[in-house]
Amino acid sequence: MTNTIIWTIAIITVLGVVLALVLYLVAKKFKVEEDPRIDEVEKVMPGANCGGCGFAGCRAFAEAAVKAPNLDNNFCPVGGNDVMAKVAAILGYEVKAKAPQVAVVRCNGTCEARPRVNEYDGFSSCFVKANLYTGDTGCSYGCLGCGDCVGACQFGALSMDPATGLPVVDETKCTACGACVKACPKRVIELRPKGPRGMREYVSCVNKEKGPVAKKACANACIGCGLCAKTCTHEAITVDANLAYIDPAKCKLCRECEAVCPTGAIHGVNFPKPLDKDAVKARINERKKKAAEAKAVETKKED
């Protein structure tokens, strides 16, 4: 009896030692060299695995960032500059601070402004609806209102406003991962820089129809009149295909375009004071008057 126990223990022990040795040698021989920095980078990532950076999760981003020669094409929108600074410190790269972004819904076709011309009775999904037809309003460019973007958001930053039928972005929760931008079949949502203290100007319309058609479909539409582009002194506004676009990099937030827009398609958000349209218009007129006077003086001199 004692013998059996001793033998058993001896055999098992020897076997264990031999196998451990084999495992050790195999592990040594076939060791996969992995950059230890990958783990370090992954540790500082937010861990949302949202795919907003363009990679399949935070681990994939870390692997790509370690391999990349610089960090110009790798940016974690969720973590923002703080996380990227940490990543850069680990990898010894330089990283330029990027302006934090936020999702902006560029459609203001509320129920009142954009009357429904037919009733959609199919499956409630913007994607399915966009495949079937141009939508239940006269505007074939705007928000379809089925909330695919809300479903795509992992951070609970989007919700549908039942009063307007449009999605609303909660800026405090939005991480600018871009999932909603991809989910929207009409490409209504855009990632724009948050702006200083959240202040930003944008054209809340994507309708490329000619003025009368756009206006007929929606009272809040951009009609491509170009008044904003003419007024802008910073060359921030371009009008292409009957649609104005404000370049956030050039915009100086003077709000002059917002004051002159005849349809109210240009929106300024998070400004401390409401826009005094008349004052801004007076300012523009004065500037124009001065410019005209200066020009008159110049022509006189030439004469």
Binding site: V117, N118, E119, D121, G122, F123, F127, V128, N131, L132, Y133, T134, G135, D136, S140
Partner: protein, 457 residues
């Protein structure tokens, strides 16, 4: 031997042919017509008229934009007002040619008399060319250019011409009225098609719910004395009018996935197409009008109208007393395969077969519940697909799996949706999934073409 039908799936919706006794009446000309250049499967046609041009009925106004494309003729006489984008029935902009109607002046070569010309010209090539020049497309709904169908690729041989008079869609009666009132012309058209395909046997397939039409066509065939044309009485079953289903029913042959009917030796043409072929070959009349059923339980003035291509839907409806109050949905086509009209100002196309009004009660969808895996959709699918699986894959946007499960073979007949006890919008999703697969297939084909061209260089 019992009446034949296809072997797989199918459903039995009530046929509701309430407009079956209404004679075909020509509709008065609309003040303006809008003729789309995308009226057929394949490349859109290229307009060859400019604003200000005077056109006559039957004059070519758009040339084919490719091999699979068709001529488009003016359906009215008058002045071209504009050539530009206009919303189709789904609201999407397509190029339309707007013509203001002035009088009704036809091209001289068109024979407008009613005399039946039974002598068929001997030159088959000339007949196909005539069909091509007449801009004839399949009028069963798919609007595939007919001359392409009649020119089988080398190596394939046609063994039977099938004239599709099933009209399995509920409500639709235009083919039935054409069979009754223009049976002679249809039979001559069938004889022409039969001759072009090499004097193969020809079957005119008609469902059993149209006994008058069956008797009438049998009489006409006996009277005209064409050999080799027979009428086959089909068992009622939807979607028997589907090309692949009809070939299965008549010839007991199955067309493979992605293959054309000619691969099993069949050429299927609709009754309306046979009539158009007759008119083009024997009367020189291009395809400028078609028979449209205007119907619905809530619609008091049922009608089968002969409508010129490009007539605005609103004009047709207003001429019959306007949209009825109880109607909440207007459908272009039948209730199973037709599409809801989002824009009543859109104009009819060559392939428009019906305008149907449905009431709230008929059309409202019940709330969707969970799939209980009963398999009714798979039983009903005439293509042998698994709709419950396809809709799941479509929601997951899994293109590879969709293709492996043959989503591209879906004929969008709606049998799955019709039979689903959980009211799952199966077809909505499968249609989207089919779109994924088709674009993947197209992308592959384009890549292969580009690679082949690069290899050549």
């Amino acid at each position: 031997m019992g009446k034949r039908t296809f072997s797989l799936g199918g459903v039995h919706p009530h046929d509701n042919k309430i407009s079956r006794e209404c004679r075909i009446e020509p509709l008065a000309l609309a003040p303006t017509v809008y003729i789309s250049v995308a009226q057929h499967i394949g490349a859109p046609s290229v307009p060859c008229v400019a604003p200000g041009d005077k056109v006559k009925v039957g004059q070519v106004i758009a040339q084919p934009g490719g091999f699979v494309s068709a001529f488009i003729h003016s359906s009215v006489s008058g002045t071209v007002k504009s050539v530009g984008p206009r919303a189709d029935l789904a609201g999407r902009p397509f190029t339309h040619i707007e013509i203001a109607v002035e009088g009704d002046e036809w091209m001289e070569e068109i024979d407008r008399t009613d005399t039946l010309v039974t002598e068929i010209p001997a030159d088959n090539k000339a007949i196909i060319e005539k069909i091509r020049l007449a801009g004839i497309v399949g009028l069963g709904g798919a609007t595939f250019p007919t001359h392409v169908k009649l020119s089988p690729p080398p190596g394939s041989k046609c063994e039977r011409v099938i004239i599709n008079g099933c009209e399995c869609e509920p409500y639709l009666t235009s083919d039935y009225r054409v069979l009754l009132e223009k049976g002679e012309q249809v039979v001559v058209g069938a004889a022409i098609l039969k001759q072009v395909m090499g004097n193969v046997p020809c079957t005119i397939a008609i469902e059993e719910n149209k006994p008058e039409a069956i008797a009438h066509i049998r009489e006409v065939i006996a009277k005209l004395g064409y050999a080799g044309i027979e009428v086959m009485e089909m068992k009622m079953m939807y979607p028997q009018g589907g090309e692949k289903q009809l070939i299965d029913a008549v010839m007991r042959r199955q067309v493979g996935s992605g293959a054309l009917p000619i691969s099993v030796g069949a050429v299927v043409q609709n009754v309306g197409t046979a009539l158009a072929v007759y008119e083009a070959v024997q009367k020189n009349k291009p395809l400028i009008d078609n028979t449209i059923t205007v119907t619905g339980e809530c619609f008091p003035k049922q009608a089968n109208l002969l409508v010129r291509v490009g007539t605005p839907l609103r004009y047709i409806i207003d001429s019959l007393g306007g949209v009825p109050e109880e109607a909440v949905k207007v459908i272009s086509g039948g209730p199973m395969m037709g599409r809801a009209v989002a824009n009543l100002d859109s104009a009819t196309l060559k392939g428009t077969g019906a305008i149907l009004f449905l009431t709230e009660k008929q059309t409202r969808r019940a709330p969707e519940t969970n799939c209980i895996r009963c398999g009714k959709c798979a039983d009903a699918c005439p293509m042998g697909l698994e709709p419950f699986l396809l809709q799941k894959l479509s929601r997951a946007k899994d293109t590879e799996a969709l293709e492996a499960n043959a989503a591209q073979d879906c004929i969008e007949c709606g049998c799955c949706l019709y039979s689903c006890p959980a009211h799952i919008p199966l077809l909505d999703h499968i249609r989207v999934g089919k779109g994924f697969v088709m674009s993947a297939i197209r992308a592959r084909a384009a890549a292969a073409k580009a690679a082949a061209e690069a290899a050549k260089k």
